[in-house]
Amino acid sequence: MSVTETAMELKADFAALSVKERLSLLLEFSENLPELPPRYSEHPDLLERVEECQSPIYLFVEVADAKVSLFFSAPPEAPTTRGFAGILSEVLDGQPVAEVLALDEDFPSTLSLAEAVSPLRLRGMRAMLARIKRQVTEKSS
């Protein structure tokens, strides 16, 4: 599926749920966030910290053959942040550079999560998306 298709599907999935169920879905993304491969888990200095997030999260972007790979690290005691990372990973990981850069920066606000987690917390996900796009731009130029 393309970035746009996955984004639309997630938007519809969240919108169809009750507020409580939205949190459960976010928790699933949090629990399923892939582990870091050893080349990053053994070298945390290579990861970039997203300061705007309420809890510490580190991310790393690789670009190869015009496709984007994403890696995240956030502690289990920060499940919301992990959940945000899991959603962005689902939508963007493995996708072409052009599609990643084209994802609307407002995408986090379209997920019907504001009521469940509060608009302030959602800012962390917007910041994460902005960092990803910036790294993709740098690494694909």
Partner: protein
């Protein structure tokens, strides 16, 4: 029936030993009919990853704050929150949370705005439970229906507004933010999102005690002696003085408010929840930059 107090020797040293319980005590009293355990975290999903059996969740953003006005829930909102949490006016409420009970103390402060009498914190925060060898569960609590009266929020006794701060000059102010925020090097907490303030620095004459100095490494509160050495010894605050504490949005300062009021016995402490996100953007109020408190302007 009032629920028994935790008689742990450590707590007996505090001015109000009745406001703290240990994990061991809580485990022994989990089944008591008159207790409701509340988890209140910074992370809105942490409760869902596992919580103390039977605990209900109260979130600072989505439950305690009004969604429109920058304010707390009103009498009807609090009544509704209490009833959906199974809390009656005479329930013993034990609150715990992440980050050394930072948000738990904030929730406790809001409970006190509505005069709920028996509210306690789990000493050692969320970690104390697993640290003592007890398990978390993902099972949803079964909540017993409760009735809670409509109680007006008391915004005078433990809460200060900006005009109260202006009128307070000449009395002690306590800034509990990080040193970088206090000196004006930055407007928000290191590693946290910027909630916005147009100026940086501190309120004139405020002394700096970053909130986390009140806790040990294991997230339990420091002993009475250690706390007194910081706030009374090092900073010269006196329990009979009127003190206003502030931070960025009033959450970290709730933790210090709790320490001063209940552990050290300061009778007249208020939390200025407008805090730096208000003061640092307010037109025409005085600000001091740098590590020194600076002189208090005339009260107005």
């Amino acid at each position: 029936m009032p629920v028994a107090l935790d008689s742990s020797p450590k707590f007996q040293g505090y001015a109000h030993p009745e406001v703290l319980v240990s994990a061991k005590w809580l485990n022994e009293h989990l089944g008591d009919a008159d207790i409701v355990v509340v988890e209140s975290d910074e992370d809105v999903l942490l409760y869902e990853t596992g919580h103390i059996p039977g605990a209900v969740k109260i979130d600072w953003h989505t439950d305690l704050n009004d969604p429109i006005t920058r304010d707390y829930v009103d009498a009807a909102g609090f009544k509704s929150l209490m009833e959906r949490s199974g809390i009656s006016r005479d329930t013993t409420v034990v609150i715990y949370g992440d980050k050394s009970n930072w948000w738990a103390a904030y929730a406790l402060w809001v409970f006190k705005l509505f005069g709920h009498s028996d509210v306690r914190l789990l000493d050692g925060a969320r970690e104390a439970w697993t640290g003592a060898g007890y398990e978390f569960t993902k099972d949803e609590p079964s909540i017993s229906p409760s009735e809670y009266p409509l109680v007006p929020r008391d915004d005078k006794t433990i809460r200060a507004f900006r005009d109260d701060v202006l009128a307070h000059f000449g009395n002690p102010l306590l800034d509990i933010r990080s040193l970088q925020e206090y000196t004006g090097e930055r407007t928000h907490m290191p590693d946290y999102p910027d909630e916005g303030a147009l100026r940086s620095g501190h309120i004139p004459s405020a002394v700096s005690v970053p909130w986390a100095r009140a806790v040990n490494e294991d997230q339990t509160f420091k002993s009475r002696e250690d706390l007194a050495a910081i706030y009374e010894g090092e900073k010269g605050l006196k329990p009979e003085q009127s003190v206003i504490a502030y931070c960025r949005i009033g959450e970290r300062s709730s933790h210090s408010w709790f320490v001063l009021k209940y552990l050290l016995g300061f009778d007249n402490v208020r939390n200025y929840d407008g805090s730096w996100t208000e003061w640092g953007s307010l037109v025409g109020v005085p600000i001091v930059k740098g590590a020194e408190p600076g002189l208090a302007p005339a009260a107005r």
